[in-house]
Symmetry: C2
Subunit: 108 residues, 2 copies
C-alpha cells in the first residue's frame, strides 16, 4: 500500500491560534516538561515521555497542546508520536518558543 502519506490528528490552523491559548497551554509544569522533552527529541509518543503522571493524564495534556497549536500528532500504528510545531509557532509568534525553551532555572 501507499504509506508515504502520514495521517494526522486534527489540529488548528496556526493563524487562528490566540496567544492566550498558547500561554495557558504552556503555563502548566507538566505540559512545559512535555514541550521541553519534545524539543530534545523532535518526536515522541506519550508513553516514551518521562513525566510523573499517569498515561491518561499525559494524553489529556497532549490534547491541550495539540488544540493550542503547539504540537502535531501523527498516527503510526497503535502509537501517536507528537512533535513540536516549531516552524509554525516561529512564524505565528516569533521568538516565543525559543525564549521559553531557553529559560534557565531560577536561583534559589
Amino acid at each position: 500500500m501507499d504509506d508515504t502519506q502520514d495521517t494526522w490528528l486534527p489540529q488548528p490552523d496556526i493563524d487562528s491560534v490566540d496567544i492566550t491559548t498558547v500561554l495557558q497551554a504552556l503555563a502548566d509544569p507538566t505540559r512545559l516538561q512535555i514541550v521541553r522533552a519534545l524539543a530534545a527529541v523532535e518526536e515522541s509518543t506519550c508513553t516514551a515521555l518521562d513525566v510523573p503522571v499517569k498515561p491518561s493524564t499525559v494524553s489529556h495534556h497532549m490534547g491541550i497542546l495539540r488544540e493550542a497549536g503547539i504540537v502535531s500528532t501523527r498516527l503510526a500504528g497503535n502509537a501517536r508520536p507528537s512533535r513540536l510545531r516549531r516552524e509554525d509557532l516561529e512564524r505565528r509568534f516569533p521568538g516565543l518558543l525559543t525564549a521559553i525553551l531557553n529559560a534557565t532555572p531560577p536561583t534559589r
Copy 2:
C-alpha cells in the same frame, strides 16, 4: 525632605523567578490586557487602566503580576502606579516579553 528616593512594594529578585510562574501570570486575558496597556504608557495606576473588571479585581491581578516579577509598583501618595520590568525580564527571559507583546490577533 529628600524625596528623590521612591518607595516600592515588595517584589521578587528577577533571578529567582520561575518561567512557569511568569507564564501562569501572563496566561490570563485580563492580565495580558493590563500588560499590554502598561507597555503602551510605561506607567499607570489601577484605576487608570481600562479593563472590564472591578477595581478590587484589578488590584488582585496587579498583585499576581508583581509577585511574578512582571511589574514594579511605586508608592506615590495614595496611588500606586505600576510599570513593566522590561529590562529585568529581558535579561532573565530574553525575547519573551517582546514576543508576547508583538503577538497579532488570530484570523477568524
